[in-house]
Subunit: 321 residues, 2 copies
């Protein structure tokens, strides 16, 4: 739940005055998202989301994100559309923060997605990968292999306060991934954070994708590994093979995986699990007093990582030959 | 910012199935309000607020609140309207919580209200008092004189951890108020929490009042004293006499104060300041680890109370003879 920056009446009005959206009808802070501040605003022109980018989002990356959303929408991906102001510019500032108004997407995110939903996400992810192929922006993934040792160092020995032996576990896993991380797999634009709260459904059908603020250039199959982690485990930590089958089958119906990508899936899934375990761990260890956001449990991803360590091939995720 | 109870897909859908509002288009948790969980939902029938009542709201009081909103709206007060379900019932349950769907009100709440806005609030408060006069519900104010000693006891000596000498200050003030609290002033339905975030404005004009979940039967002039506290002080703790003049003049243009009410205004303002200081103090001292709500500063109301202690008559608030 997230509204980190309060917006004064004057700041909001003067920002809106630079847009051709008419008069403001309402503005409500949204208790979703953990990185940026989001407000649902209604004006004469309809409903929009006003996002204020908080410090975790690098301002220099914003043109990449805004351009990507425009590019994807032009290729039929339903995602928020940055709204240009009267001067034709989609990025501005509110209350000292970089800010953007995007179109509002109908739909709700699912708290308990089914295997059918996992299939819909697999298909949407593959379509996203194809649609991004000719985007001319590029952004390095700061949270891939090279980004993990600094996160592990930031947690340091305090990881053992969360779970006895976690520090050593992380070091061992990092060494394994550094030895085994794949190279030469197909690269492109990945969402990199396509969790259930970033996928909207309407009457059972996938209606839109949101939150492109981790999007970057990386292995497409790594994005799929992130989704397997995010969608195909049950609350008790068990992997739901049917969900994996649906996701992988639907993904491949749009973009078939190469043999090298299929073979790399287990190590990619380990890397993806470590990435989310590490960022959650660092957040967990650094919750400021009076924080308004409840940190996510890093141990959820520890359990997922343990599962991946025992996987022998992508078949264990439901990949069909 | 408040979403305390997560609502599952199934729970939301099955609750909505009991209403004639059509299909769900979207549902967003709202980062406003500190007592209950609020969701902005859009359906075929339009926009609504779904409120889940959390433990501070006594379920037995809900019929009083729901009936009051219906009563006030029928008398021209713009406030959320409880939406009855297909069985004609406005109260139900979601995720184990009592729940209600109310109509959505356009408008934004003002972060920096002006004297003109304070006038609008004074007038709306007086209209609310008149409109409530023939409401046949009644609810004791649990947060008036008799409710303060238990709050002071709950804080206890820990009040001194917040501010040296605060425990003794509270005891002295309580004794004064117990000696001087007025009797025989006009009683009626009061809002009891008409802070800026509960008053919406649209294009400069007051467009609606929300959050009636502290409403109760008490002295009407006490409600006005709450508003003087909530609206007429500046961020630096100074009292803005112009704002007080606007509020009192506008209130009296609709409902003139009796001499006894005018004379009681300083002591009522002291009581109102103590009430908010005490509830904030107890919240402040009892913030659970991992709390999602930042407690409000009790010292804001300490400063206001100190101001009221030096007031000699209601003229100091801007009351004109």
């Amino acid at each position: 739940m997230a509204v980190y920056t309060e917006v004064s009446d004057q700041a909001l009005q003067s920002f809106l005055d630079s847009y051709a959206l008419g008069a403001l009808h309402s503005c409500k802070g949204i208790a979703e998202g953990v990185e940026n501040s989001n407000f649902l605003i209604a004006t004469d022109a309809g409903q929009f989301i006003l996002t204020l980018y908080e410090k975790r989002t690098n301002e220099a990356d914003l043109p990449f994100f805004v351009g990507l959303m425009q590019h994807l929408a032009a290729r039929g991906i339903t995602c928020p559309q940055p709204v240009p102001n009267k001067a034709g510019v989609a990025l501005g500032r509110v209350s000292g923060r970089p800010a953007c108004i995007v179109t509002f997407l109908d739909g709700v995110w699912l708290r308990q997605p089914s295997a059918v939903h996992c299939g819909a996400v697999g298909e949407a992810l593959a379509r996203l990968h194809l649609a991004g192929a000719d985007y001319d922006g590029a952004r390095q993934n700061a949270l891939s292999l090279a980004g993990w040792p600094p996160l592990a160092a930031a947690a340091g020995a305090r990881a053992d306060d969360v779970f006895e032996g976690l520090t050593a576990f992380i070091a061992t896993e990092l060494a394994y991934l550094q030895q085994n991380w794949p190279e030469n797999l197909p690269i492109g634009i990945i969402h990199a954070d396509l969790f259930p709260d970033n996928v909207f459904f309407l009457k059972g059908a996938l209606s839109g994708l949101i939150d492109f603020y981790f999007a970057c250039t990386d292995m497409l199959s790594y994005d799929l590994a992130i989704c397997l982690n995010a969608w195909c485990f049950e609350a008790d930590g068990s992997f739901n093979l049917t969900k994996g089958q649906h996701m992988l089958r639907a993904y491949q119906s749009v973009r078939p995986l190469s043999t090298a990508e299929s073979e790399a899936l287990p190590v990619l899934a380990r890397g993806a699990a470590l990435r989310f375990m590490l960022t959650r761990l660092v957040d967990w260890l650094n919750v400021p007093a009076g924080a308004l956001v409840k940190p996510k449990d890093p141990m959820e991803y520890f359990k997922k990582l343990r599962f991946h360590q025992k996987v022998s091939s992508a078949r264990d995720y439901g990949l069909e030959p």
